[in-house]
């Protein structure tokens, strides 16, 4: 049961607020949709714009890196040329089997020469090593690469440079070979041009960590620079952990970008989205690759979270405002609707309260004026109907049945003929006063006393005509005598008793009792005639209207008349039993003439 109640309550609340809910939902959905669209389109636009400018600036950065690599290469080439063209170095490296003093001198001389050349590359933290036959080794910075003659002489990089004596080679040495740091070694075989004889090898080892300073300033965690050699090996990178890795895929992409002269290419490498830019460095035979982590860069640049937070904040604020405003608007309308829908309960005479917004006030106002007009019309209609009804009753009342007159007068004639002069006179008197009362205004009330007098006259006439087999007794409480009652209110019942109650029994009595009970005037017309079958307990439908013998007013009208005049709690009640008789009870309010207001009211109706 409680759940049912709650459901009902919930559905009622829903119904009452349906306008608000609809309006609010539509507003919220539109606000959210608009904010989302604007947020995402602005994020997308700014990121596109940023990527454009970013790639332009990165291309510039790449060019600068290239320039720095060229500078470095130029320093190495200059030093190489100086060593190659240095007669002292050549002489010392080619000398053999000399005395200790001569050796000492040549060692000294070559050191001086190398020391003179060394500063060209020293500023790059690059070491310089000259290797000659006969265990000659001049290492300018021993701590940079503590290598012995034997090891260096048999090193693959030495072999490779002797194989290609005319080329300055940049060779990568991974970290495991001698030192714990990876190195890039520029090597060049020293060759006597006239004979083609190789008399030594020149080395410029630089630690990768020092070499990367050429480009490190342009990098960040999102913006990686890698140098890839022709084997796809990463020779240098700002990402230390990648140095020495083999990445043929990266090489292929770099070659593609370089061959097709692309500015940049969007690639997916190492499970990340990158913008790849590439530049081939011919002197090094390396690809300079720039990988920009698109997502990370964007994440740094555009604080998506912040933008979303701002949008969320705006949406929230808007929703709150929309809530408040639409709540106010719909509340007044809903209240109006609620009042209007319960209008019928209050007989259209309670105006709706004019509150809320301008529109609601206007509507309420219009509704109220319409209501009052409507009420006026209804009153008019009711009045008209009542007038019509009164007129009908009047008309009915005035229709004194001609047969009644005829019969009565015929009876008087017989009485005169029979010489019953006094009786005839009495009857004529009764008829005169009866007609006098009956034909006066039907609206007027009369006292119980008068009504009883009329009834007595009516009884007198009837008894004179039909004999006095039917006895009529009046029992009127004295305090009721001056009570006002509508004219001819009891006559139809007497008539009914005379003409219908005694069809089988030829004799009997009719008793008329008038008394006050609980503030009501009770008039009872009881007969002990034939009685009848009661189908229901209501009078109107049960009693078949017979023709009216005295006036147009029948017992059917009496009930309606009473109710019309006094209201629903008054009226006629009939009880009857076959063979036992009939009992009619007429209940009326106790009204005396001095209660002028009430009588006025009654007369108005």
């Amino acid at each position: 049961m409680p759940t049912m109640k709650m459901k009902q309550k919930a559905s009622r609340i829903l119904r009452n607020n349906s306008l608000f809910i609809k309006m609010f939902l539509i507003m919220v959905v539109s606000i959210v949709a608009v904010s989302l669209l604007i947020t995402f389109s602005s994020i997308r636009m700014s990121s596109d714009l940023f990527m454009d400018t970013f790639s332009i600036s990165n291309t510039k950065a790449l060019e600068q890196i290239e320039t720095r690599f060229e500078d470095y290469s130029f320093a190495i080439v200059s030093a190489t040329n100086e060593v190659q063209n240095n007669g002292t170095i050549k002489k010392v490296l080619t000398q053999e089997n000399e005395s200790a003093i001569e050796t000492s001198k040549s060692y000294h001389d070559i050191s001086r020469q190398i020391e003179r050349i060394y500063p060209t590359v020293e500023s790059y933290d690059t070491n310089m090593i000259v290797l000659g036959e006969n265990e000659r080794l001049y290492n300018m910075n021993y701590s940079n690469w503590p290598v012995s003659w034997e090891v260096l002489r048999n090193h693959p990089i030495t072999k490779r440079s002797i194989e290609q004596p005319n080329r300055l080679l940049y060779q990568f040495m991974p970290s495991t070979s001698f030192n714990d740091k990876p190195m890039i070694v520029a090597t060049k075989a020293l060759m006597e041009r006239s004979t083609g004889e190789i008399y030594g090898v020149l080395y410029f080892p630089i630690r990768e960590e020092d070499w990367k300073r050429l480009y490190e300033g342009y990098t960040s965690t999102e913006n990686e620079v890698l140098l890839v050699n022709q084997d796809g090996k990463i020779v240098s990178s700002n990402k230390d952990e990648m140095i020495g890795d083999l990445e043929p895929e990266l090489l292929a992409l770099a070659e593609e970008v370089e061959e097709e002269q692309l500015d940049l290419k969007e690639v997916n490498l190492f499970e990340t989205n990158y913008l790849l830019m590439s530049q081939y460095l011919p002197t090094y035979d390396l690809y300079l690759v720039n990988l920009v982590n698109k997502n990370a860069v964007l994440a740094n640049l555009i604080n998506t979270k912040e933008i979303l937070l701002i949008s969320l904040g705006i949406v929230l604020v808007a929703v709150v405002i929309v809530f408040i405003i639409s709540r106010r608007m719909t509340n007044s309308i809903s209240r109006l609707v609620k009042q209007i829908s319960s209008m019928a309960k209050h007989d259209f005479n309670r105006p709706v309260t004019e509150t809320g917004g301008y529109e609601a006030k206007k509507i309420a106002n219009a509704f109220n004026s319409m209501l009052s007009e409507l009420k006026e019309y209804v009153d008019l209609v009711v009045q008209a109907q009542q007038k019509q009804r009164t007129a009908e009753l009047l008309a009915l009342q005035h229709q004194i049945n001609p047969h009644f007159l005829y019969n009565t007068l015929a009876s008087v004639k017989f009485m005169v003929q029979q010489g019953k002069k006094e009786k005839a006179t009495e009857m004529i008197h009764a008829l005169i006063s009866l007609l006098q009362n009956a034909l006066s205004n039907v609206d007027q009330t009369i006292t119980v006393e008068q009504e009883i007098a009329d009834l007595k006259n009516y009884v007198l006439i009837n008894q004179a005509r039909y004999g006095d087999g039917i006895k009529v007794n009046f029992f009127v409480s004295p305090d009721c005598l001056d009570c006002q009652v509508p004219k001819l209110i009891l006559q139809p019942f007497i008539e009914n008793a005379f003409f219908h109650a005694f069809n089988e029994k030829k004799e009997g009595f009719v008793q008329i009792l008038v008394s006050q009970k609980r503030g009501s005037l009770i008039c009872e017309i009881v007969d002990n005639g034939d009685g009848m079958e009661m189908k229901g307990d209501y009078t109107k439908e049960d009693i078949k209207e017979k023709r009216h013998l005295f006036s147009g007013i029948g017992i059917r009208n009496v009930h309606e008349r009473i109710q019309m005049i006094y209201g629903g709690q008054y009226g006629v009640e009939i009880s009857s039993e076959k063979g036992e008789g009939t009992k009619v009870k007429v209940e009326l309010p106790v009204q005396k003439l001095n209660a002028s207001v009430k009588s006025n009211e009654i007369t108005n109706i």
Binding site: A100, Y107, Y138
Partner: protein, 430 residues
């Protein structure tokens, strides 16, 4: 009413926007005060992870103070460069509290930036350390350096080669360089091996020779070149030429050849600083074939059989946290005998703290050197090293001398050569 709502909405949106954009500024505050250490942490710079950095780590372990010690490794050249740039600009930002400086260079720093270093005169007792170190680590009457490793030199000899030529290590003990040359000739004749290696571009040999007689490239003042008329230097030059003439020297051009020569058994002796011990021991197959005898002396009156090559000392900079740094130094290298035992045992670093020589670790008999109590011997010799003021220009003068030596070897007269180098040095170092 409508206007009110509009204002309200605007206010709220502004507040929301303002709240969103104020997140980033706060992180910057914390990183300002790292360079100059406060009282709760001090930094120390050194350059050799196998040697002086390792010694610092041991000192940190032995130290039980509240101060946190941060040890930072820098290349020696970088340390010199950073100190020079930092101190000359007068800023203490980014400077360490403790720095290790090679003895040959120490005076140039002390003289150039006397206020930059914190005097340890009242902190340590200079009598506790080898005498010869005090001259290089003090300036103007104040003790600035805390002497660290000993550069005490010894003559490492191959006993098997000597034996072949009919000598014993005792025959080489406390001899003069002239006697050494004679033995060298005999050894070369008997074994075909050279007696020693000589690097024409490194005159460490000359430095060791002249210090046996308490002489140096500069005068007592530390800056005036003392070359022309320096009898010890002249004698050393003569001796050097004798070696070359006798052809007992193997000419080498760098460290790898120097080490390679004795590791491969090409030379019969190595006259150098004690720090060579680990390199000599690298050739494990030569175990038991080596001995160490005192350095030969110049054949002059007053010369002793003890010399030095290299060595370095700790300095405390006059920056915030100097008291803490000095306290750290005192508690560790300045007084802790056990620390020195650990240093020789674990790192092979021979200190110059005299009291340390009495510890057990110094008495250990070294099987590689035929059971010799090498550390004890070296410590004894350390105390005998003549103290000299290395002055400001050791390496600058040596560059000039290297060329002078070549001239001399190739026939120029010695007095002329020394006259030339003196003139050059005076011109350059003025």
């Amino acid at each position: 009413m409508k206007k009110f709502y509009l204002m309200f909405a605007l206010l709220i949106s502004l507040a929301v926007l303002a709240a969103c954009s104020s997140g980033d500024d706060e992180a910057n505050g914390a990183s300002g005060s790292e360079g100059s250490s406060g009282a709760d942490s001090i930094t120390a710079w050194a350059w050799d992870p196998a040697f002086n950095i390792a010694a610092l780590e041991k000192a940190k372990e032995a130290y039980d103070g509240d101060v946190e010690v941060k040890i930072i490794e820098n290349a020696q050249d970088d340390i010199i460069q950073k100190l020079n740039t930092g101190l000359s600009s007068g800023t203490t930002k980014g400077m360490p509290n403790i720095v290790l400086i090679e003895d040959y260079r120490a005076q140039s720093f002390l003289q150039a930036y006397p206020d930059a270093f914190y005097p340890l005169t009242d902190v340590i007792n200079s009598d506790d350390f080898a005498d010869y170190k005090i001259a290089t680590t003090s300036f103007d009457g104040e003790q600035y350096g805390l002497p660290f490793d000993s550069g005490v030199a010894g003559l490492y000899v191959r006993t098997d080669y000597l034996e072949e030529a009919g000598y014993t290590p005792e025959d080489l003990t406390n001899i003069t360089w002239d006697e050494y040359i004679e033995i060298g000739k005999a050894v070369k004749e008997a074994t075909g091996k050279n007696m020693l290696t000589l690097d024409p571009n490194d005159l460490g040999q000359i430095r060791m020779m002249i210090q046996t007689n308490g002489s140096w490239y500069v005068d007592e003042d530390g800056s005036t070149p003392n070359l022309e008329g320096n009898e010890s230097l002249a004698k050393a030059f003569e001796t050097y030429k004798k070696m070359m003439d006798a052809d007992i020297g193997k000419i080498v051009s760098d460290w790898s050849q120097f080490v390679g020569a004795f590791n491969s058994g090409d030379v019969a002796s190595v006259p150098t600083g004690n720090w060579i011990t680990p390199s000599i021991k690298q050739a494990e197959d030569q175990s038991g074939k080596w001995a160490v005898v005192p350095m030969p002396r110049l054949d002059m009156e007053g010369a002793v059989n003890a010399s030095n090559l290299g060595g370095s000392s700790w300095y405390v900079l006059n920056v915030d946290g100097k008291e803490e740094a000095a306290d750290f130094m005192l508690q560790t290298f300045g007084s802790n005998v056990d620390l020195y035992q650990t240093l020789v045992k674990d790192i092979g670093a021979l200190g110059t703290y005299s009291a340390a020589a009495e510890g057990d670790a110094y008495a250990v008999e070294d099987e590689f050197f035929g059971g010799q109590q090498l550390l004890a011997d070296l410590s004894t010799w350390t105390d005998e090293i003549p103290g000299v003021n290395y002055g400001l220009h050791t390496y600058a003068i040596e560059d000039i001398l290297v060329t002078g030596m070549q001239d001399y070897l190739n026939g120029t007269e010695l007095t002329k050569v020394l006259e030339n180098v003196q003139a050059q040095a005076e011109a350059q170092l003025k």
